[in-house]
Amino acid sequence: MQSDASFDRRPGRRVPLAGAAVVLGLVTLTGTVAGCGYNDLQGLDEDTKAAWSEVVNQYQRRADLIPNLVETVKGYAAHEKETLESVVAARSKATGVSVTPDTLKDPESFRQYQEAQAGLTGALGRLLAIAENYPNLKADQNFRDLQSQLEGTENRIAVARKRYIERVAEYNKAVRFFPTNLTARFLLGLQERPNFTVADEKAIAKPPEVKF
């Protein structure tokens, strides 16, 4: 064994170095492919689209609840015409603006969508505020169920928005950071995506103060 080993030493030393060089080259290559973030970017792109679909889904769910809600309120407070009509108008405006995952890149249509939805949030807030003035309406089981559904949907929208905000932040980072920004720009043509602005939503959605 001893002599065997020393006999091997000469060729053994030279060739592993060459082998190591080849393997090292392969490592660098895989490192480059993994490091350029191609897969990561594609994954993040899909994640933001999925998160966006959930946002749209929940806003749609809210819009679906409104006709029923308006009918129920009408039964007790038909003369609150103005508020009821503003809700219906805001709803049709909100459902009229659609943002598909592909038009997500466009900050302008994104802003329009957000404004329309915030307008509906505001109109709904006003409707629920006037409902406080009608004890019979407040005691109505159907109305209470609808109210809880609406509240649950608003919560779901909040969660979906929060998750979208997180996804987009992650995606935008990848699109801007080096070296993944090179892959994003030259290989995939991906751009930064607009994100929700909490301040706008709060300002538009704020229900008017009710004073007696």
Partner: protein, 303 residues
């Protein structure tokens, strides 16, 4: 020393490791640790009631797989009810991953607020309207009468009734691995093991494949890919050495393969003693969330 049980322990160690990295950042009001199915930080429940509730909830999980927990806090300390409740539910990860069949009953005593937080998978059975009814009819009246234990018990019973039969009790399964990113990790582990193995084999012929194999075993994530990449790296180094030396040595592969497992032994038996995957068995000890997600379903109320 059953060798067959080792991959299970290894998986365990990895899960523990990953969970310890994923500890969520502290918020305005800290999410209390999940010490059991009934977490009573306000001391509102007598221990007999608490234990009975925990048993009921454990039994319910055993038969249906649904994970329901109760949290009573003295105060929200100014935080929004839904924000806190959602943060607790998602931090505790009640319900199974994928099925999301978890629910949380949260009571804030000083704020006189109640919330039922419902996981995605139970939203169909425990709808917002149903949750709201449970709060208004089962819980709030008893709370108003000062009967906190009675209200909580009635609420839990109503919740369990609503969601019983939604799911069959699942057979405890290993969490599905995400295969996509793992291939690259395995490749990397193999490369690393091969390079180091070759370098080492420049100094010591037999040690090379062993070190290479062991290294890529340790570098690879998860146990199965680890065994795979360990084996591949070992084979590559051994084969290269074999070709380069032109000295056949069949014992290398066999011995090396066994040794790789042995080298990984310390690593794979390093796991802790608690389950991170629900199904802690009977009782309330070692209860933890199964990875369920919450999307904002449920209802809030007050008394």
């Amino acid at each position: 020393m059953g060798r067959a049980s080792r991959p299970g322990w290894g998986l365990f160690a990895v899960v523990v490791l990953v969970l310890s990295i994923l500890v969520p950042p502290a918020g305005a009001l800290d999410v209390p640790p999940l010490t059991g199915r009934v977490v009573d930080l306000a001391g509102a429940l007598p221990s007999s009631v608490r234990e009975r509730l925990a048993d009921t909830l454990a039994e319910h999980e055993r038969t249906t797989g649904n994970q329901v927990a109760v949290l009573i806090v003295p105060s929200l300390e100014g935080e929004d009810l839904f924000t806190f409740s959602h943060r607790v539910a998602t931090t505790w990860r009640l319900g199974e991953k994928g099925t999301d069949n978890g629910a949380l009953l949260l009571v804030a005593l000083k704020d006189r607020k109640i919330r039922i937080e419902v996981g995605y998978g139970l939203e169909g059975a425990l709808t917002d309207a149903r949750s709201s009814q449970i709060i208004r009819h089962a819980i709030a009246p008893r709370f108003r009468a000062g009967d906190i234990p009675g209200g909580v018990t009635a609420g839990v019973e109503a919740i369990l009734q609503s969601i019983a039969g939604t799911y069959e009790a699942p057979t405890p399964a290993q969490p599905a691995a995400d295969h996509a990113g793992r291939v690259i990790d395995v490749l990397f582990a193999v490369m690393l093991g091969t390079v180091i193995g070759l370098v080492v084999s420049g100094f010591h012929r037999r040690l090379g494949p062993l070190v290479g194999g062991a290294l890529s075993f340790l570098a690879a994530p998860w146990v199965l890919p680890a065994l795979l990449s360990g084996g591949i790296a070992l084979a590559i180094v051994a084969w290269l050495r074999y070709r380069l030396d032109e000295v056949p040595s069949p014992t290398r592969r066999g011995r090396g393969g066994r040794r790789t497992l042995d080298d990984g032994w310390w690593y794979t038996t390093n796991g802790g003693g608690w389950s991170s995957d629900g199904y802690a068995g009977g009782g309330d000890l070692g209860f933890s969330g199964g990875g369920g997600d919450f999307g904002g379903g449920g209802a809030s109320g007050d008394w």
